[in-house]
Amino acid sequence: MDIRVDKDACVGCGLCVKDCPMHVYELQDNVSVPVRPNDCMGCLSCHEICPAQALEHRGIYPARRHYIDIKVCEMLRKVI
């Protein structure tokens, strides 16, 4: 699993360390490091909790999504 952490964005809160059911992350010098990326099961809980949107999992998409309102989609595309 290719997990990237945006080091500039990460505030070192450790919420991903706490929330990841597979213990993928560790905090090192106030930055999260995915030390066991191959254990990741792709649940993306870490994305949801990260306050800085610092995490990226290459090539994973949530399998089941809530329906997103068409008005919201319209607006999302236009926020610049």
């Binding site: 945006d6 505030v11 919420l15 909790i49 809530h66 309102d69 919201v72 926020v79 610049i80």
Partner: protein, 305 residues
């Protein structure tokens, strides 16, 4: 190229933010004519052939609504400028009182009210609620911020006029903040006026209600860098806007609870004045109100009338 700036229910701060481009304004007016802006020039009505119109402020009365429809008809591209236009902004907070209470307060109760206390009848009637402009008209782009910050406008306005595209971060305020978390022990919520936060650690971890994690960036985390918690003036972060089950309130509670190991119910007990501390900039937005988990409906019901 003709550009215009229309004013609805706002404070005109967004137009002043455009003037804050300072000497760069000279480059802007070299490339484009500003043909209409009630705040900065004496032209009463927009001409019909505007290329890019910026609309600032929310829609709160009938005149705002008419002006919004007119500027839409008159312009090829319509840009919502500022958080009032994008999400209702502080103008939306007026929904916490009934229209009668608002008029009574403004024309009779404030110190500066005229002694005769007459509520005028020749002002545009209020609508039943506030609206973000996108709730009522087709908008081509949204630029958030109360007001949008100068450094951001310096990038975006010339690019818009030139028709260029830009790569900009789409992350939250936290991603631009230079604080780090450090240990969180014995957490309890502090009011903003209590104590002086230390400059190194995350304000949320120190007990202040910093909305950085639920707020769209672009301000360079201006407030946390000046030791003030973010109060959310850029509107919601895009993950909150996007996901139907995420909202400002529930994500703040979840993050505080995870951070402090306090049960969510305990965290909720400590929160105060949720309308002003969490939804100060989004209460007038239908999109934010329509989320399943939004507290806006309850807050408006509770205080109105």
């Amino acid at each position: 190229m003709k550009i215009a700036i229309e004013e609805l229910a706002g404070c005109s701060g967004c137009t002043i933010a455009v003037l804050d481009l300072h000497e760069m304004l000279l480059d802007v007016i070299e490339a484009a004519d500003i043909v209409y802006s009630p705040v900065i020039m004496d032209v009463k009505e927009p001409p019909g052939d505007i290329d890019i119109a910026f609309v600032t402020g929310a829609v709160r009365n009938e005149e705002n609504h008419e002006r919004l429809k007119k500027i839409r008809r008159c312009s090829k591209t319509l840009v919502a400028l500022g958080t009032c236009a994008c999400y209702g902004g502080i103008s939306g907070l007026s929904m916490l009182s009934s229209n009668e209470d608002l008029f009574r307060y403004i024309y009779q109760e404030v110190e500066t009210a005229k002694p005769d206390g007459v509520i005028p009848t020749d002002v545009p009637p209020f609508l039943y609620r506030a609206f973000a402009v996108g709730d009522l008209a087709k908008i081509d782009y949204y630029i958030t911020g109360c007001p949008p910050k100068e450094a951001f406008l310096r990038e975006i306005i010339p690019a818009m006029i030139a028709g260029d595209t830009l790569e900009l971060s789409r992350k939250s305020v936290c991603s631009e903040c230079d604080r780090f978390m450090g240990p969180v022990e014995n957490w309890s919520l502090k009011h903003r006026h209590e104590g002086v936060p230390d400059r190194e650690h995350c304000l949320l971890g120190q007990g202040y209600l910093c909305l950085g994690s639920v707020t769209f960036g672009r301000c360079g985390a201006a407030c946390p860098k000046n030791n003030i918690p973010c109060h959310g003036c850029n509107g919601p972060s895009l993950d909150i806007l996007r996901e139907p089950c995420r909202d400002i309130y529930n994500m703040m509670v979840r993050r505080i609870s995870d951070l402090t190991d306090k049960p969510a119910k305990e965290v909720e007990k400590e929160l105060y004045d949720v309308a002003h501390t969490m939804y100060a900039f989004t209460i007038g937005s239908l999109i934010m109100e329509d989320k399943e988990t939004s507290k806006i409906r309850d807050l408006v019901k509770e205080r109105g009338r």
